[in-house]
């Protein structure tokens, strides 16, 4: 029964998406100042659709929680012996379930937009909802026609197949949903951009409507990428925090586009400049989201993320991708010329710095995109190539370093036009700090170029991030400005972590007999014993490591080599010892023939700063949203108050006072 309710809800939601598309399109036909009678259905359709999609997802969640083995998806991906939390997270640990989550979030954000956004002109709103309905329709079709999550088995299975043990982790509980919400939040930015383009209403008011969506999606993407990076770091047991894996790149590309969009939409809101550029970034950001979904879901990649290889699904998503991205860029090409130019600005100005950073972000995006797609292209010609850090690191740094330098100065510049001489003092401080640190570090030791540059940039950026607060009363600084300061400071913190990890990490690899001790940095690691242990659905070999720092009391670390039995797979569970200034990372390997055990230990100074930085960046985004919403609510209150007062004055029969403007 549960599966049938879910399936029916999905079909109904798809039908409502059609209604939303048609009714929204009628809004475009409205005569000036009037509402087309057929356009009023778009908003209710979007809201109901959101409820139905949420219902469908809840049904699947329930089926997984109760391990309903008559449903094919549950039987192939779950197991009655799994802990409850992993049964639930298993809902989106597979292709169909994760696509249902994707569509659910898409419908939910469309519903939120339709339910709460009242600032836009009705025509633009109608066009926006029509676009949103069109996007949703394609993904409903994908879900219902080629990956039905509610498919029944002819006869219920006796037991489920279980979930890939690498995915049985609490990281999975948060990582995909946040990332998806971020991906799909960009769909609203996309729909708004297309709506504004269709009605040529690209105005600061439109930018203010778009901004919270972009910010919200960007915050979620930031958190999702940060969580994913930490998950890969401790779960894969390789000690790295970023692998330039195509799937990681698939999440990084929308983030880069969203970062550019977020800055350009602010310019549009504050200064009415960069109109078409903002629209283009809006289209680009969601295109990258869809491309990411295609790369991950089509099976063109092989990794822990690509659940099933099915060429039909790949072709379906590729077709959707072609329709949406191709269509959007076609409309953009036809309409962009009709959007009036925005306000002008000088090269040295806040806008100028933001344009520079936008261009650099797009450059990094191009580098990552080409590096990710290149192996797929060459494979079509039967040449097998894999692209890794030797390409990505230097190529993206060529754009990232100028971008970071301008990021230090940009927030200090004035809007419209500025005189660089005014900032001489600040420029000297930032420059001296950077050069000083680089020189000092190169005297101490030989380090690779990129970590060295990172070490120099990080403190300079940290200081530059707080410089915009100089000479201001801290209590009166707007919340959104604090958001910018915190986010930029977070970039500096993350960069410091990356540079330290790159420059100062130490690694020790040895075969150790029980009782033996290895030294790494200030730590002495003693292998006390190796014992077999068992969990709910795995058995493992567990090493007991006594770690002594300096001469202090020992701390026990227990890295494991786990074997899951359903499905059969082995994973290596690293053990981490976190200090304020870094992490000790230990992995146990195989037993050598002579009875010694392989141990791999890293000391990674300040590696945790990478993720602290990511969290700070996201926090900055949250502050920016909070600040904007507060200003908006106040403005609304003030305007209703004013309206009431004017009505009162009119009721008294006196002539209304002329507004100041």
């Amino acid at each position: 029964m549960i599966a049938e309710i879910g399936l029916a809800a999905l079909w109904l939601a798809a039908a409502l998406a059609v209604l939303q598309l048609v009714s929204g399109a009628f809004a475009l036909k409205a005569v000036d100042g009037q509402v087309n009678p057929l356009a009023i259905y778009a908003r209710p359709a979007a809201v109901t659709q959101a409820l139905l999609a949420a219902l469908a997802f809840a049904m699947l969640l329930w089926a997984f929680a109760t391990t309903d083995l008559s449903i094919k998806l549950v039987a192939t991906n779950s197991h009655s012996m799994k802990p409850l939390v992993y049964k639930l997270t298993g809902t989106w640990g597979n292709h169909e379930g994760s696509m249902l989550l994707w569509v659910g979030v898409l419908a939910l954000s469309g519903g939120l937009l339709a339910g709460f956004e009242r600032r836009l002109p009705e025509r633009t709103m109608g066009a926006t909802l029509a676009v949103q309905g069109f996007v949703a329709l394609g993904f409903y079709a994908f879900l219902l026609l080629s990956s039905n999550p509610f498919e029944r088995l002819p006869a219920p299975a006796a037991e489920g197949n279980g979930l890939n043990p690498l995915l049985q982790d609490i990281g999975l509980a948060i990582h995909p949903p946040t990332l998806y919400a971020g991906y799909v939040g960009l769909s609203v930015a996309f729909s708004l951009a297309m709506g504004a383009l269709l009605t040529r209403e690209v105005t600061p008011a439109f930018a203010r409507v778009m901004r919270p969506w972009v910010l919200g999606a960007w915050v979620l993407l930031t958190l999702g990428i940060t969580a994913g990076s930490y998950w890969a770091y401790y779960e894969l047991g390789w000690g790295g925090w970023w692998f330039w894996d195509p799937v990681e790149n698939a999440s990084l590309m929308p983030w880069l586009a969203a970062t550019a969009l977020l800055h350009s939409v602010s310019v549009l809101a504050a200064r009415d400049a960069l109109r078409t550029w903002t629209i283009m970034l809006g289209v680009l950001a969601f295109s990258m989201s869809m491309l990411g979904t295609f790369l991950v879901r089509s099976g063109v990649l092989t990794s822990v993320h690509a659940f099933a290889v099915d060429p039909e699904r790949g072709a379906f998503i590729l077709a959707l991708l072609g329709i949406y991205i191709g269509g959007a860029f076609a409309i953009f090409a036809l309409r962009a010329g009709a959007v009036a130019e925005g306000k002008r600005f000088a090269a040295v100005s806040r806008e100028g710095a933001l344009v520079f950073n936008n261009v650099m972000l797009s450059g990094i995006l191009a580098i990552v995109l080409l590096g990710t797609l290149y192996p797929l292209l060459t494979e079509a010609f039967d040449v097998r190539v894999s692209v890794g850090p030797p390409y990505f690191n230097p190529a993206s740094a060529i754009f990232a370093i100028p971008m970071l330098l301008v990021m230090a100065v940009g927030p200090l510049l004035r809007w419209k036009s500025d005189n660089p001489g005014r900032l001489r003092m600040e420029l000297v401080i930032i420059g001296a700090l950077m050069v000083g640190v680089i020189v000092a570090v190169s005297i101490v030791g030989q380090y690779p170029l990129l970590p060295l540059l990172g070490l120099g940039l990080a403190p300079a950026l940290a200081v530059a991030a707080v410089l915009p607060l100089k000479g201001r009363k801290l209590a009166r600084v707007p919340v959104a400005t604090w958001g910018m300061v915190v986010a930029h400071f977070g970039i500096a913190v993350a960069l410091f972590g990356m540079a330290c990890e790159g420059a100062f990490s130490r690694e020790r690899l040895a075969a150790v007999a029980p009782g033996g001790t290895e030294r790494i940095g200030d730590f002495a690691v003693t292998l006390e014993s190796v014992t077999p242990v068992a969990g709910p659905n795995w058995t493992a070999i567990e090493a007991r490591l006594a770690v002594r720092e300096g001469g202090g009391a020992p701390v026990i670390l227990t890295p494991q080599a786990r074997s899951f039995w359903s499905p059969q797979q082995s994973t290596s569970e690293s053990a981490l010892l976190t200090r304020w200034n870094g992490q000790l990372y230990a992995v146990i390997g195989n037993q050598a023939e002579d009875g010694r055990w392989q141990l791999r230990i890293w000391w990674k100074p300040f590696v945790t700063f990478i993720w602290y930085g990511g969290i700070l960046v996201a926090l900055g985004g949250v502050l920016a949203i909070a600040g904007r919403v507060r200003v908006d609510v106040r403005r609304r209150l003030a305007s209703t108050k004013g309206d009431r007062r004017r009505a009162d004055v009119e009721a008294l029969g006196r002539p209304a006072p002329v507004p100041a403007e």
Partner: protein, 153 residues
Amino acid sequence: MKAKHQRLVLVVIALLAIVGAGLLAAWGLRNQANYFYLPEQMASEPPAVGQAVRLGGMVQKGSVRTDADGVTVNFRVTGNTADAIPVRYSGILPDLFTEGSGVVAEGSLGPDGVFKATNLLAKHDENYVPKELEGMGTEQAAKMAADTTVGLK
């Protein structure tokens, strides 16, 4: 400068940057991409010493030998012909690394003709096949799949 001109300048700058990124990517990809080698390819036209490449094939039966330090492993990788490339790797072996099963080694060829691997990828489960191993021919791939799933099901 008129607004229209400013827009033109911005478009030109953006295009220049994107084209620059494209050229840089093309150059970087040609130089830096890790090329994939089968053992017979590596034997007939070896890559330059120190160039980062990948070597994929089967771990020859009876060739795995661990050094006295307990962490350095030597083995040979074979492909469709009799050519076998010696590989040396220091580190923890992937869980399913066994003789006679598929492996992809990332690293570079040393001056002594031994391939120094910095990373080994082995077949993890029936859902994960290193993409490069598809190039081994259907018969070989089927054999490898059969070999590596022994004891799994």
